[in-house]
Symmetry: C2
Subunit: 204 residues, 2 copies
């Protein structure tokens, strides 16, 4: 009995959507190609016609996650003050990590396929990081080399990423950090990042 027909590439799209749904609901470890196929009511081998391996499906998902992440960063409330703009970006970063913890872990936490094998994934990731570099280059701090900006960007990213990771994973729970200490951690970290980069003093 022939299946109801799908347009070419429809199954590929459906696989990505279903896989994303599984991760969002049950986490990365619950994702399997066979489960995807099962939910789409196709044979367990059908997804292999569109993804060479599980890693390839994963890489495609990660690429999309980076793209969505970059969009969220770009959708931040804009400000004409470069310092405020960077703070807004930091807040957007935390907000995204909080709103989509699984996707955040998918991008940064999980064991990923080798980036060199998945150029599209790398391209999206670079684009996201480029937003941060741009915001930092716009800061009014006298002429700075591109290399210096990259150093700053790495520092800022490290700090925000580190805190986001800790807040997201069970690390804080593991060391029995009281919830109260986590509450203000985000804005505090952003303020300190600003201070470390030489921002003018914020509101009292």
């Amino acid at each position: 009995m022939p299946k109801p027909k799908l347009k070419p590439q429809d199954l590929r799209e459906a696989c990505l959507a279903e896989a994303a749904a599984i991760i969002e609901r049950d986490g990365l470890e619950a994702l399997s190609l066979r489960e995807v196929a099962r939910r789409l009511a196709v044979s367990h081998q059908a997804p292999y016609k569109h993804f060479a391996s599980r890693d390839h499906l994963l890489a495609a998902l990660v690429a999309r996650a980076y793209a969505a992440f970059a969009s969220a960063l770009e959708a931040r409330p804009r400000s004409s003050d470069p310092w405020a703009d960077m703070a807004a970006m930091g807040e957007a970063y935390f907000a995204y990590a909080r709103a989509h913890p699984r996707q955040y872990r998918l991008m940064f936490g999980a064991k990923l396929p080798d980036p060199a094998d998945h150029p599209e994934m790398m391209r999206e990731a670079k684009a996201a990081f480029g937003l941060l570099e741009k915001a930092i280059a716009a800061l009014p701090r006298g002429p700075r080399s591109r290399g210096a900006c990259r150093h700053d960007a790495l520092f800022v990213w490290s700090t925000i990423h580190g805190l986001a990771t800790i807040l997201l994973t069970d690390s804080a729970q593991t060391i029995a950090m009281p919830r109260a200490a986590l509450k203000a951690a985000e804005s505090e970290a952003l303020a300190r990042i600003g201070a470390a980069l030489g921002a003018p003093a914020g509101p009292p």
Copy 2:
């Protein structure tokens, strides 16, 4: 034919050692209870007499990793200057992450079993974090509440942990960050952390 006898709990110890060896050599994803059993030339179910599940074995390994990590932090070269001492601790942190990347990922990166189910793992983790809190409390910055110190500790940990994670995982490779930018990142981050906490200016 009876096996050559092992003292009670010997197999448990051997499992932990073998599992650690597997992770060190081939990474976490290569670890399986069956592979452990195979290498020890026992049946695939023997480890289950000592670990209720794969997660329980993992939790025991993580507890040991935390303990080793804490030892490495404590073995840092001591200094009578609290600021220098904290910097030394940061360097020891990075050094450990660099020397034992798999173990570091085991502690912070990987999907871990629920901490609440593994109190020993939590205890070791708290002990490690406590070292940082202690070093920060020793900083000469006028009287600070315990809560304030915890905030500082969380900030410092975030920054160091974030950078260590980025340096360790493929994240830097993913965004095609040039190696040169990574070279000085550690000491730079430590200097900025000091600045953010109000350290006196370092050597010119």
